[in-house]
């Protein structure tokens, strides 16, 4: 291999690994963003509606349930399931986007 090609190879290599690193950081940042938003909702529906503001919400009624009681014993659980599936959906989308970008 001539000196020139070796040099070119090195530059390209550097460029790609740097680009890769950049991509990873981006991926990680988007991931953190998704996780923190979902965890904020997680906190709100359980610790918030089910505990801290539960007594306040109890003045509203849906069917035979007081709202605070419903969140504590039913609603929070349904939201948890929903949150995980939203996470699965968003992460699969992010994985795909990242994969497409690195293959280009």
């Amino acid at each position: 291999m001539s000196n020139n090609t070796l040099c070119l190879f090195k530059i390209l290599n550097n460029y790609y690994s740097c680009n890769n690193k950049f991509m990873h950081n981006n991926y990680w940042r988007s991931n953190l963003k998704i996780v923190s938003i979902l965890l904020a909702i997680w906190f709100l529906v359980s610790f918030g509606f089910g505990i801290i503001w539960s007594d306040f919400l109890d003045q509203f009624q849906i069917g035979g349930f007081k709202l605070g009681f419903w969140f504590a014993q039913q609603g929070s659980i349904y939201f948890f399931v929903l949150l995980i599936f939203i996470y699965i959906y968003l992460m699969n989308k992010l994985d795909k986007k990242y994969k497409d970008n690195t293959e280009k």
Binding site: H24, Y27, W28, N31, V35, L38, L39, W42, S46, F47, G50, I51, I52, S54, D55, D58, I62, G63, G64, F65, K66, F69, W70, A72, Q73, Q74, S76, I77, Y78, F80, V81, L83, I84, F85, Y87, I88, M91, N92, L94, D95, Y98, K99
Partner: protein, 582 residues
């Protein structure tokens, strides 16, 4: 056919099924023994995780506890489901990406230290044995009530079954057995709940039924329950008695503990891909939520039915379930006002709470009790909360096959959890202690042999716990959660999300979390049990919720100590970078 015979048939058939699956799917390599060869479909893994997760405490005790705690019982519902969100979002995908066998594997590698691995193994064994002790008592209760065998014999039969499929099948055998066990237990939980919901409210969906009106009236069930419970001197059913601070901490301890339970985490090592780990957590929570959203309905029905069917009833005419449970000592009646009627209200019926029976019977035919009656209240009934789910079908006068089904379901719940825990214990001994620490020269075949031996020893110890049971099922289990929250969860979380954390910080954090949490719990539960009231608690936080404080202490200690020592080596940084990538 009578209920007894049906129960034998249901339990016998389900046991035969579990053994059949174990033989069909036995493990032949360490990879299969520890993580089922990473070949488990996410839905199957979700079911197995759900069965692994839903223990005797979930199946037998939880609805009973909530029936008597009312809204305070929400801590268990939110605490034992919310942890899955943490698992799915913060741990499962990264640990799967790391791709090793055990939880201490991750901690040992991430904190580049045998000491960290050993501390993790100690925490893990501590947590798992506390948890397994709870399961065995569940097995004992079911056997003694429904099959009328001695509790000890019941425990031994249960141990033999678990021994067979855990030792033979390893993770692979356990996973497929758990899929079957999930089906049995969820069916057994839903059928009586649906029946009772229809009987009481006319609504076939229990989750909606307990917010519905009582049949042929326009009174909401929960309103009626609030009224009846307050009239009897209890707190209204839909109101809290504990402080918000305490409820917050207990819920948090249970959630973070769930996310730190090794036997749950290891399930996400068994799927083929990282994206499957996320999916598994989602499916697992759906399967769990089916039971957990039904449980509070069962609780409300059970409390209502219980009061309706015994209040002001002559003992001689009391329903047969009342006498059946009395005969094994989990219900007791002391006729304080000598009117031959059963009166149930708030307060302890007896001094010393738990009844001690003599051989004699009283004038109405009730079992006589040595304890003096507690004269500060007029309650005449002692009832063990653990029996509510099991007694519920009888209380609602459902057919015999439903009762038999519930017995089989309860056994499935207890056995599946016990097996999962025993496997985690055996893997941490054979893999983390022997192969990775003390005997690195052993071959895979020898490691597999040691794994099976340690599973056998663990089963034996668990059996002893079942024969000499420590306290309430749910209370013992709460201890395990506190410890998992205070030790394992922070180490895993910071391991993934904070690269700068070094081994000194992680070890100091885990040890301080372990020591402070267990000191607090042991102090209030065992040494100074008479001091166990909110006046003496730290910031009004009960021992059940102290794991959350332990977790915060762990974080703080780890970060502070870490600051004074050098940063982790470069290969650890690279490893963390790698598990963060898709």
């Amino acid at each position: 056919m009578d209920t007894q015979l049906l129960t034998y048939i249901f339990v016998g058939v389900s046991f035969a099924l579990y053994i059949g699956i174990a033989i069909w799917s036995r493990a032949s390599s360490t990879n299969e023994f520890y993580i089922a060869g990473k070949g488990v479909h996410p839905i199957a893994n979700g079911m197995a995780t759900a069965a692994d997760w839903m223990s005797a405490a979930s199946f037998i005790s939880m609805a009973g506890l909530i029936a008597f705690l009312g809204k305070d019982g929400s801590v268990y519902l939110m605490g034992w489901t919310g942890g899955y969100v943490l698992l799915a979002l913060l741990l499962a995908p990264y640990l799967r990406k790391f791709g090793q066998y055990t939880v201490p594997d991750f901690i040992g590698t991430r904190y580049y230290s045998h000491t960290a691995r050993l501390v993790a193994v100690i925490c893990l064994i501590f947590v798992s044995f506390t948890y397994v002790a709870g399961q065995m008592r569940g097995v004992g209760i079911v056997f003694s009530r429904f099959l009328e065998v001695d509790i000890n014999l019941g425990v031994i039969i249960g141990m033999c079954i678990v021994f067979f499929y855990a030792v033979l099948g390893g993770m692979k055998g356990i996973t497929y057995t758990q899929v079957a066990q999930y089906c049995v237990l969820i069916f057994a939980y839903l059928v009586p709940a649906i029946f009772i919901s229809i009987l009481m409210t006319g609504n076939p969906i229990p989750q909606l039924g307990f917010g519905d009106t009582l049949i042929n009236t326009d009174i909401y069930l929960l309103d009626k329950l609030d009224k009846v419970t307050s009239e009897l001197g209890f707190n209204a059913y839909t109101e809290n008695t504990k402080s918000n601070m305490d409820i917050f901490c207990i819920t948090a301890a249970l959630m973070f503990g769930t996310a730190g339970l090794p036997h749950v985490i290891v399930r996400f090592f068994t799927v083929p891909k990282v994206s499957d780990a996320r999916k598994s957590a989602g499916y697992a929570l759906i399967f769990i939520a089916i039971l957990y959203s039904t449980a509070p309905a069962v609780s409300a029905f059970a409390r209502m039915n219980f009061i309706d069917s015994v209040q002001e009833v002559q003992y001689k005419e009391a329903p047969s379930w009342f006498k059946n449970w009395e005969s094994i000592g989990l219900i007791a009646w002391k006729d304080k006002n000598n009117d031959q009627l059963i009166q149930y209200s708030s307060g302890n019926a007896l001094e010393g709470i738990k009844p001690k029976f003599t051989n004699g019977t009283g004038s109405s035919g009730e079992r006589l009790i040595i304890n003096k009656p507690d004269i500060t209240n007029s309650n005449e009934v002692y009832i063990d909360r653990d029996i509510m789910v099991l007694a519920n079908p009888e209380i609602a006068q459902l057919p015999g096959w439903v009762i038999a089904l519930v017995a089989a379901g309860a056994l499935a719940a207890a056995l599946s959890t016990a097996a999962g825990l025993l496997l985690v214990i055996s893997a941490s001994i054979s893999h983390d202690l022997l192969k990775k620490t003390f005997m690195p020269q052993i071959t895979e075949k020898q490691e597999l042999f040691y794994a099976r031996c340690s599973a056998a020893v663990a089963i034996f110890i668990a059996g002893l716990f079942g024969i000499y049971p420590p306290g309430f099922v749910a209370q013992v289990v709460a201890f395990a959660f506190g410890l998992a929250a205070a030790t394992i969860f922070p180490a895993l979380l910071m391991g993934i999300f904070y690269k700068r954390l070094n081994k000194e910080g992680a070890i100091a954090g885990m040890i301080s979390g372990l020591l402070i949490t267990s000191a607090y719990i042991v102090n209030f539960k065992f040494i100074n049990a008479q001091m166990n009231s909110s006046d003496n608690w730290f910031l009004g936080i009960s021992p059940e919720g102290f794991g959350f404080v332990g977790m915060i202490i762990n974080f703080v200690v780890a970060l502070v100590v870490s600051y004074f020592f050098s940063r982790p080596p470069d290969d650890v940084y690279q490893m963390v970078d790698k598990i963060r990538q898709p």
